[in-house]
Symmetry: none
Subunit: 223 residues, 2 copies
């Protein structure tokens, strides 16, 4: 789970990053509203924690702008206890939850869990390339109406290709991303998986294939 934390008080921010990281979230920290908006609008976060009082652009404005441009990432607002009108405004502007400072870490974590869980089911992402689609929920690799469900590692490798179209990805890179930077697995394992994916793509009649560029890497290409 990847989170964006927008909080201008450095001490507070660092404490939050520590605790969230400990609880297995990946966290990007930003320190003002403009940064918050820029990062959030990239759209690759699972959740956003947004302080209301921030330099350059306040949290409510960021919230409003993000929602206006169609951003659906769940957002948890933070603010000082007294600003009750902000709470009302925030909830009506489309914030998913609200937390008054000071708060306990347990409560923050509980609210985060609840918030992320609520949105979990309503995101059905599907990557496509040529006549091939890859469903990130069901791990289904599909061409036209025929599809098969990929095993976990095959899915992760395929996902890398779909997410980095027209980029060459080295086998080493795949090994590090999918198997982890400290894996014991050998590079040939990646070759095996490439081979499996090729077979399945061909079997489904895909109009793309995994091409190797010697000494450089692999990428998906139109046939």
């Amino acid at each position: 789970m990847k989170l964006l934390l927008a909080e201008d008080e450095v001490d507070m921010s660092e404490a939050l990053v520590d605790i969230l990281t400990f609880h297995k979230y990946t966290v990007d920290a930003v320190y003002d509203g403009e940064e918050a908006y820029d990062y959030a609008s990239l759209g690759n976060y699972d959740g956003i924690i947004l302080d209301i009082m921030m330099p350059k652009k306040d949290g409510l404005t960021v919230l409003k702008e993000l929602r206006k441009e169609g951003c659906q990432t769940p957002i948890l607002m933070l603010t000082a206890k007294s600003e009750i009108e902000d709470k009302v405004a925030g909830l009506d502007l489309g914030a998913d939850d609200y937390l008054a400072k000071p708060f306990s870490m347990d409560e923050l974590l509980a609210r985060l869990r609840a918030m992320l869980r609520r949105r979990e089911k309503s995101i059905a992402t599907e990557l496509t390339c040529g006549n091939v689609s890859l469903n990130q929920q069901t791990f289904e690799l599909k061409v036209k109406d025929e599809g098969i469900i990929l095993p976990k590692l095959e899915f992760q490798v395929m996902e890398m290709f779909m997410l980095n179209q027209d980029m060459y990805i080295s086998a080493d890179n795949i090994l590090e991303k999918v198997w982890g930077y400290d894996t014991d697995a050998e590079i040939s394992t990646v070759w095996v998986y490439i081979s499996y994916l090729r077979k399945k793509l061909a079997q489904l009649g895909a109009d793309v294939e995994i091409q190797a560029k010697r000494n450089i890497g692999y990428r998906l290409e139109k046939k």
Copy 2:
């Protein structure tokens, strides 16, 4: 919109009833936990406002019992500002939102609006998939005219499958949702329940079955 208000301080309760009524809600007021539970379990409210501190049965217990029985009515918890552990417990027990006293009426109304909006779409009493139906009131699993009443946990697991059709649900996810995120139960317990449900689906002649996908999860599929 019909609301249940469980709040033991009479002055507070009457004030809330007035304001909610003014805002076009229909409100039933009760003054202790047992009444709250009895009324709420009728299942004909659009939302419940539940004070934690109440005579006879406290709000958290009421919440827990309601959720355990499959009640899905959105619930907003109220409590005195300091009881932070209650907030955490409440959110994890399935409360939809939380409000600390004292609060402004505006905030209450905003939170109510947000909460009711979230649940608006999901009001159905009988779920179906293929020739199988699951009654959320009676816990009856039925194929054609033959049916059996499921035990509570089997029902909750089955309900997850019915509510998330064509989505894979991991055993961990089921464990967290049905048994609670802090349960001591082991993952194998989920396997046992899946096994029971499969047997019952087969016995009834269902045209759907619970399919497992290694490392991904389970889902209902047409045979």
